[in-house]
Amino acid sequence: MRPFVLNTLLLLLVSACDSKTPDNNQAPPLEQQADSSDQHQQAGKSLEDWIDTEFQPSTLGRDAQIAEMNWFKEAARDLQDIQISVVSETLTTHEYESRILSKAFFDITGIQVKHDLIQEGDVIEKLQTQMLSGRNIYDAYVNDSDLIGTHARYGYVVPLDEFMQGEGKDVTSPTLDLDDFIGLSFTTGPDGTLYQLPDQQFANLYWFRYDWFQRPELKDRFQKLYGYALGVPVNWSAYEDIAEFFSKHVGEIDGEKVYGHMDYGKKDPSLGWRFTDAWLSMAGAGDKGIPNGIPVDEWGIRVEGCNPVGSSVSRGGAANSPAAVYALGKYIDWLKAYAPPEASGMTFSESGPIPANGQIAQQIFWYTTFTADMIKPGLAVVDANGNPKWRMAPSPHGPYWEEGMKLGYQDTGAWTLLKSTPVEHRKAAWLYAQFVTAKTLSLKKTLVGLTPIRNSDLQHQAMTDAAPRLGGLVEFYRSPARIAWTPTGTNVPDYPKLAQLWWSNVASAVSGDLSPQLAMDTLAEQQDKVMARIERAGIQQQCGPKLNDEKDPEYWLAQPGSPKAKLDNEKPMGQTVPYDSLITAWREGRVR
């Protein structure tokens, strides 16, 4: 009765609109349907066939591959009649899993997998519906590790450490090699327990037109105008100068209008992501500490121990601190002054491919998930030899930023198992999760989807060979600088509820309805309110919110660390580094 009821209730709640909601998550994706029918028709390939034809190159030798696959075959012996369904967002990597790997998994283990691909927001919605209603919708979810603070606190998620020792012991691969995963810290809760298994990983970097930045006439002109060299901006002042340079001074390159900045501003949930992902940390609103600032993180949420105590400055948080307000203000100023006019009406996914059109000189906040879309031959940003005209580099930081703080966003889409999934299904799903991340095939998957998860893959010669075509992706992942890019951390006690607050407040500021200060004040207050409700309900026993009493904000601003008092000069001298020396530093294992 319970699932029926929650659905009916939701239906009634949104009856005004539900029937008309743009429905992109109901029908299973077409290719998915086609594949599952293929599975029945074609005789399966043998384990060796798969290894020889598909799982190459690999970091394992053929024998090791066969041994690992045979383990899967054996481990699945008792689970063969089970058909599981799993879900992930629509990405090249997951398409590969859904189309190819699920088939291989079936051929090798006999377990049928229905691997659905839907929009990221819908994945979260389904996940949340399952958590709240207790009804098993999917047997496993791939969702970003941003939810780690939520998972660790609510207790809906199976702690993997416990599972691997207990119920899942006989289905945990001896060759899993957890330490090989580069994103493991993202999926570990404040209690040190592992909750999710990384499946794909991406970062948010600075993107720019290397070819333009190399042009002598542009370099000269920039030097003359701004007094320093045109290069990869280290701070926001330099980014702003370069944006202005291309949008206002250069204007046109080779007869095409060019812009010094690209972003998006439509009132849409994705508008919140760029903020909750890293924007405030780049500006420097949080505290020092990797992966996330301690005690104040990039959401402006302060923790004491592991208990969130507030996000308003008056409670010791930084969501409405001067640095946060500065970050929001710069985002809006740049969007309006330097981005193409239509950018303000775009969403995350609409704006993503725009730099590939060849009119954008640089983008401060660019997701490496778009790499595959930026290296296709024939694009305006790919040269005749098929090499990219662009490069990725570390994002610049704002004036509040200090050494030792997180510098950008990096996240891992990770397998999540829920307690409400029946044990047998959970075990089968766990097998599948390990399979699609197994060493046998993980290098191949990385080359297809460009979302590396294993250190062993990154160090492989195949990655070195691919590096020139990938605009710096390999160099970034191999460098020690990587650790300054992290996802939303454990300070956030309820990601879905809190993340929702961001986009509407940001939108009000973009339109000018609210000043950046007022928008961030409202946001901080709303975040505190949500945390207060969690505290009142007493639902998070461990590490739940315990709000500080409000104090005069000046008290907190006077304390060392975040929240930081307003700087007198928020635009110091611009600073750049030549890309080539940066990349050399990375190759040599230095941060810069």
Binding site: M1, R2, V5, L6
Partner: protein, 90 residues
Amino acid sequence: MSWMAWTPVTAIFFTAIILAVIVMTLWELKSPTVLRKGLLWFATTRGDRFFMCLLGSAIIHILWIATTDIEPAVATLVCLISAVLVMRYA
């Protein structure tokens, strides 16, 4: 019934409404309603007036908590009085 998330207050609320509906039904069986034109611009049956009372009470409560911090129980009292007036004169 746990999925309906009952609370004592809502349980009392719905019991009261269901009781009222039952009373109205019995009353109707005992002496069927007559369409009558009262203070309003249209004629009403007893059921119409009952419906108006319920709807009116909801509106009064909404307006009450929108505009004043006075105990909502006072609004309930106002509703009861107005309900009697509506049943009698509308």
